[in-house]
Symmetry: none
Subunit: 227 residues, 4 copies
DNA sequence: TATGAATGAGCGTTCATTCAT
DNA sequence: TATGAATGAACGCTCATTCAT
C-alpha cells in the first residue's frame, strides 16, 4: 500500500511508515505535535474528505491542515489518490479485526450475530468520517485499488454471512431470504448511518446499535411468516 | 428551481422548460432527435454523473454527449450545479409520485407498506443512475439546494413512516423500534442497491423487491420478541 | 496535427487554424497586433524554444510573450508538446516545398544539386531558430510525433538523395561513397549551422551556401581519387 | 571545474576526484562494484542524459541508477549542472588527447588529416551517448561553463584546422573554401552521427570513418574545380 | 562520508463561466 | 437562440537543493 508508482524513484513516496524512528517522541512537545507527519496527513485527509468530498479537497488544504508542506506529503504518499487508498486500508483493517473477534467468540450464533450487528453500528458511528468516505468515494480510487477494496469487503461480508448461514443451518434463523441478500440489506442500513446520524440526536450509538441488531434478528426470526 | 443564482440579469439561464415550444417537434427528425435540448442535457448529465461522479464530469463532456454547445447549456441552465439540482428534482418528483399513489390506495396497511417497500426497490433499480447520483453527490449541491432536497426527502420519509405508525397503532406492526429509525434503516438498504445490484445477477428486480419488503415486514412482526 | 488528444472534448484544442475568420483584419490595428492568436503563440514559442530549449521554456513565458492567457493557448493547442509539434510541421513543410521546386526544375543534375545544397543552407540560416529547435528538440516530441517527423525527414532526404543517384548514374558524380551516407554527411553540416553561424560573421549566408555546395560537389567529383 | 557555486562553505561539493582513496578497492567486491561513487554517478548520468535529455533526468533517477543516495551525490558534485559539466570535461579531454596524438605523428599531412577525420568518427560512434549529450545539451550548461567548453572546443577545432592550412600551404589541399568553414562543415557531419547511426546498420564504424575521411579529402582535392 | 526528510517555488493543465457576436 | 474564443484561478504534482543527524 502507498507504494510509489513513479518511474525510477526508489526512495520517495514509498509506503508511509506511520511510526518512524523520528525524534518525535522527545519530551519537548505535547502528544498532538509528536504525531508523525504521515499520521497527521492521514487524519487531516480523513476529516476533509468526509467533510467536503475527495475531489473538493485540495492537496493544499490537506497539507495546511496537517501543518506540513506539499513536498513532505509527496515524500510519504505517492499521490492524493494514495492518501485515499490508505484511508481505505485503515478502515477495512479496523472493521475486519472487530468482526473476526466477535465471530470467533463463544456463544450461540444468534448472540454472536447480534453482537456483530450492534458492534458494526457503534464502530461506524464512532468513525463516521471513515464511513462517509467509504461509501461515497470508492469510485475515486484507481480501478486496481477498487478491486482490492471490494475483495476485502467481500471477505468481510462473507464472514458476516457465515454467521447467518450457520444460524439457518441450525434452524434458529429463517431462510426465507438468501443470506447474501440479507447481508447487503443490513450493510446498506449501516453505511447509511453516516448520512443521517447526528451526535445530538435522541438515541445513543449503543441504542441505535441495539435497535438495528433487533431489526436484523427479528427479520430472521423463524416464526410463521407475516399473514 | 434551476433559477440562476448569478448577480446580473434575470433573462438568461432561467428554469429550463423541458418541453418548450422549440422547433423540436418538426416532422424532420425521428423522436430521439426531437428530444428537447434541456432534456438531452439532463439525460447526458445523469448518465455521466452516475458514471464518473459530478466533479469528474466536465461541462464540455456533458454538452458533447448531448450534442450541443456550451453556450446552449448556459442558456438553459444557470450552472453545472443547476444541472445537478435539476437531476435531483426529477428523482424526487418521480419517487414521491409513486409513493403517494400507493399510500393513497385501498387495502390493509401491511399490504400498502409491503407494496411501497417493494416498489421503491424496483423503481430504484430501474433508475440506478439516479440512485447512484442521489446518495453520492448530495454534498456537491449548494447548501441551499441541499436543504431543499433534504426537506423533500423528509416529506417522502414521513409519508413512508406514516404507514408504519399507522400499522403500529393498529397493532399489526411491532413498536419495538421507533418508526423513524425503521425508515432510515430501510432506505439505507434501498440506497445501497446502487452499489451492488448488477443486471446479470441471480435475482430479478421484482424478486429483490419482494425479499426486501419481506425483511421489512418480518422485522416489524408483532410476534413475541426474539428470545 | 495539433489535433486535441483529450477525452471527450470535441470543441477545444483542435487543430489551430492560423488564419481564422476573426475580426483580426480590421483596419484598427498594426499588422503585428492583427496576427492571429495561434500565430502569435507559434512564433513566440519558436523564438523561446530556440533560445532556452523546450524544457526550459514555461508555458507561462510563451503566453506572456504572445500577449495572451494560458487558457487561450490551451484553446488552440492541446499541450505544450503540441506547440512544438506544430513548429516541426511548419519547418518540414517549408523545407520540403523549396526542395521540391528545385528538384523539379530544369537543368543538369549537378546544377540542381548545387542549387538545392546552397538553398538549404540559405534557408536554414534565414530560419536559424527553426533549425536550432529541429536538431535539438526532436526527442521532446512524443514517440508518435517523432516517427511522423522522421518519416517526413526521410522523404526529404530521399528526394535529395535521388539527385545524387541520378548524377551517379549519369557518371557526373562519383559513387565512391554510398549516396545515403553522403546525404547524412551533408545534412549534418547543414544542421550544425545553427550552432556556429553568427549574423555578424565574415561570410554572408549566400557565401556560406556557395561554399557548402562547392564542398559537396567537389567531394562527389568523379575525377581520379585522392592519391 | 565542478567547483561549487553555492554561497556558503567551500568544504563540500568540491571537484570530484574520480579515483579517490576510498575503500573501494578492497578485496571484497568485483571490479564493477569497486568503481568509485563519482565514477558510477558520472556514467549513470551520461547514459540518462543521452537517453532522456538533461532536463528530463531527475537527480533521483541518477542516484538510483548509480546505487547511491542524494546526499552522496551532493557530496561529490556541487549540483546537477556540475554533473553535466563534468561529463563535458571528460568528452573534451578524451577527444583532444586522440587528436593531439594523431596531429603530432609522422607522415604526410593528407595522411594525418585522413587519420584524424576517420578517428573522430570512430571514437564518436564508440561514445555515442557523449556525442548526443554534447550537441544537444550545451545550452543547459551555465553561461560560464559554456564559454569554457566553447574555448576547449575552439582549441580542438584549431588543431584540426591547422592540418588543413598546413596542407593548403603545401598545395596538397585546395584553398577554394576557407579552412575554418571546412572544419565546421566536417564537424557538423560528425556530430550528426548520433542522430542517425545505428549499431545494426549496414556499415561498420570503421567503414563510416573511411567514407567520411574520403569525402573530406576529396572535397579538398586541389584538382580543377567542378565544371 | 553519508542519510533522507523536508522545503518551496514552479510546472503543465483543467475548467466553469463570460460575452461579443 | 446559439456560438466558441477567451479568461483566470486553481489544481495535482515535481524536483533541485538543504540540513540536522
Amino acid at each position: 500500500m502507498a507504494v510509489g508508482t513513479r518511474g525510477g524513484s526508489g526512495s520517495t513516496a514509498r509506503s508511509a511508515p506511520l511510526s518512524p524512528a523520528t525524534p518525535a517522541d522527545r519530551a519537548d512537545g505535547p502528544a498532538a505535535d509528536a504525531e508523525t507527519v504521515p499520521r497527521r496527513l492521514l487524519s487531516a485527509a480523513t476529516r476533509l474528505f468526509a467533510e467536503k468530498g475527495f475531489d473538493r479537497t485540495s492537496v493544499q488544504e490537506i497539507v495546511d491542515a496537517a501543518g506540513v508542506t506539499k513536498g513532505a506529503m509527496y515524500h510519504y504518499f505517492a499521490s492524493k489518490d494514495d492518501l485515499l487508498a490508505e484511508v481505505y486500508e485503515r478502515i477495512l483493517r479496523m472493521q475486519m479485526t472487530r468482526l473476526e473477534e466477535i465471530a470467533a467468540s463463544e456463544g450461540p450464533v444468534a448472540d454472536r450475530l447480534g453482537r456483530a450487528a450492534a458492534d458494526v453500528v457503534v464502530s461506524t458511528i464512532a468513525n463516521l468520517d471513515d464511513a462517509t468516505i467509504f461509501f461515497r468515494s470508492m469510485h475515486q480510487l484507481s480501478a486496481a485499488k477498487q478491486r482490492e477494496v471490494r475483495a476485502d469487503r467481500r471477505r468481510y461480508h462473507e464472514l458476516f454471512r457465515s454467521l447467518i448461514t450457520e444460524g439457518q443451518r441450525e434452524g434458529v434463523f429463517a431462510a426465507r431470504v438468501p443470506a447474501d441478500l440479507v447481508v447487503d440489506f443490513y450493510f446498506g442500513s449501516v453505511h447509511h448511518l453516516s448520512t443521517w446520524y447526528r451526535a445530538d440526536g435522541a438515541l445513543t450509538p449503543d441504542e441505535i446499535g441495539a435497535h438495528y441488531a433487533r431489526l436484523l434478528l427479528d427479520a430472521l426470526r423463524p416464526a410463521p411468516a407475516h399473514p
